[in-house]
Amino acid sequence: MSQYYTTTDHFVLVPALMLALFGCAVLLFEVLVFPHPRQRKWLLLFVLLGLAFAGAGVWRQQNFLASQGIEELTAFGGTLTVDGFAIFFNWIFLAASLIVTLISYRYLEVEGEHHGEYYGLILLANCGMFFLATGTDLITLFIGLELMALCFYILVGFLREDRRSNEAALKYLLLGAFSSGFLVYGFSVLYGLAGSTKLRAVADALASREPWDPVVFLALATTAVGLLFKISAVPFHMWAPDAYEGAPTTVTAYLSVGSKAASFALLLRVFLMPLGAAREVWEPLLAAVAVATMTVGNLAAVTQTNIKRLLAYSSISHAGYILLGLIAGNETGIKGVLVYILVYTFMNLGAFLVVVALRRKDLLGEDLDDLAGLVYKSPGYAILMLIFLLSLAGIPPTAGFIAKYYIFLALIETRHYVLAVIGTLYVAVAIYYYFRIVRSMFLAPLADTGPLTTSFGLRLALVVTGVLTLGIGIYPEPFLGFAQTSLAR
């Protein structure tokens, strides 16, 4: 260890190191150790090991913070900050990666694209997410974001033989690069204002200027554009339905939770800390975006017949709800956002897991009719899907209810009554389209009698997400407590 790389630096960096190392190892081992396609399942072991080591690193950080009674630990001269917030998100990322890894091998075999690169990219994307949650430096955040995004561009286009996948990847790449341009411009203006890339310095610089300062506004607007694109908020959401539909379903699942959660981590960091001074500027702006996002997401979902597309619009609308928590901005609101993201991760993953199980060699399994009568064929899957959908719609006693409740409560506390009413009304619309899926599963004759594509990993993942979705709803206390401690900043 030197002065440039201290023990603290190492301690903070360990999870990312593990993810990157195992990511590279998986890439290498596929070629050197497991060249035969049948051996590729063994790569899973390394992925799990990598995640486990990363998890251990995060665990140690969490314990360290708790035992020392300190709120944050900075490393690399303020480039990385480990605090409750970062740890909270890192757990979400690791859980999402773990679940996606578990369900992928069978799916990729069916698709005929089972390669080690897939797992490598999952781990490296997770590495990027780590920097999004932990980074407090503009350059680190930007590179972390690009690392994650680049992995996703490749993963979305992973089905090289599938034109939809290619198209989705290309669209995502082009628009993603476009939005990154705006984001990096915004960051550069922030740097210009502060003379430093550290978020804390930027915050100080912005606090000394008036909120409606034109340059501050320029930085805010361009940064907001880049970030809103990543969370697929209207009007920068256009990529999402196409990318979600075209991507392999496992990747769609990962994209919809991992990428979204990481982007929200970044968004929260940037909007709460450096841009917090300009709150009066961005609050109405984000409110308008949130309403537009909920409107477009919910209304467009109504007429979809492709489940992946439907869930894509639903995930757009969820971004709107999460933004509402940020708009409320008080403690309840931010806690609501954290809880919402946590809950959303599990329920949305769960819903996609069922869609993954529908895919067979001879069946795309993405149409609403492919679910018809699922309850007769596989009641367990149908009931779990029902739970996920109820949760996505926000009906108690599922987790989604708790999440929405905190958001609405925060809105009412901060007297955003109109937003609360709009949000509640859109819940009614959302129930309508989620219940189109329920209707298909429970109130339609069985259409396809073929077996579901299941595997041990998929079943395990389903049970875990199902138990969590219902469990957080029934006994939310520990998870709320987790969110609570994560915010002790």
Binding site: Y4, I139, I143, E146, L218
Partner: protein, 169 residues
């Protein structure tokens, strides 16, 4: 005065080269214009007194990477692509968008021109020695971490391009 003149000249090279890069239909022409654009950027570095960056830009980008580009373009038959009719010719929409956004950005920058913390112009004679060392120092101390992450980023890019290019595994 002379600085200002050179700044605008290099900026023009950078921008014009960039625009021509994306508008040329012949891939070789595009690559050549990219070289012009990169050279313009190198010139800007030189104006800022960043000689090392200038050298790296010329050697690596203009010299190395662009030559590779040209090789690839000439090896892979891209004539087909050049002959293909472009199905979207709404360049005026693009122009309107670009000029609109550009004008707005310019407006905001102009309004708040005094906001930026600009580096002081070097007093007296430019300090030539130690330029490279100072870059190295910053890169491996303050920006060590982004630097390393960037290497992972490049690795992902390589993996991705190989994966996409491989026909069938």
């Amino acid at each position: 005065m002379l600085d200002t003149f050179f700044f605008y000249a290099f900026a023009l090279l950078t921008l014009g080269g960039g625009i021509l890069t994306v508008t040329r239909r012949n891939a070789v022409h595009s690559a050549m214009w990219l070289i012009v654009s990169l050279a313009g950027a190198a010139g800007l570095y030189l104006l800022q007194g960043a000689e090392f960056l200038f050298a790296v830009q010329i050697v690596l980008y203009v010299g190395g990477i662009m030559v590779l580009f040209l090789f690839v373009i000439m090896l892979v038959n891209l004539d087909e692509a050049a002959k293909m009719r472009q199905f979207n010719k709404q360049w005026w929409v693009a122009l309107a968008c670009v000029s609109g956004v550009g004008a707005l950005v310019a407006y905001f920058l102009r309004q708040g021109a005094g906001a930026f913390r600009l580096a002081r112009p070097p007093q007296g004679a430019p300090i030539l020695e130690g330029n490279t060392e100072r870059i190295a120092d910053v890169l491996f101390s303050e920006y060590l971490l982004p630097f390393e992450i960037a290497s992972v980023l490049l690795l992902v890019a390589i993996v991705g391009s190989v994966l996409m290019a491989k026909r069938k595994v």
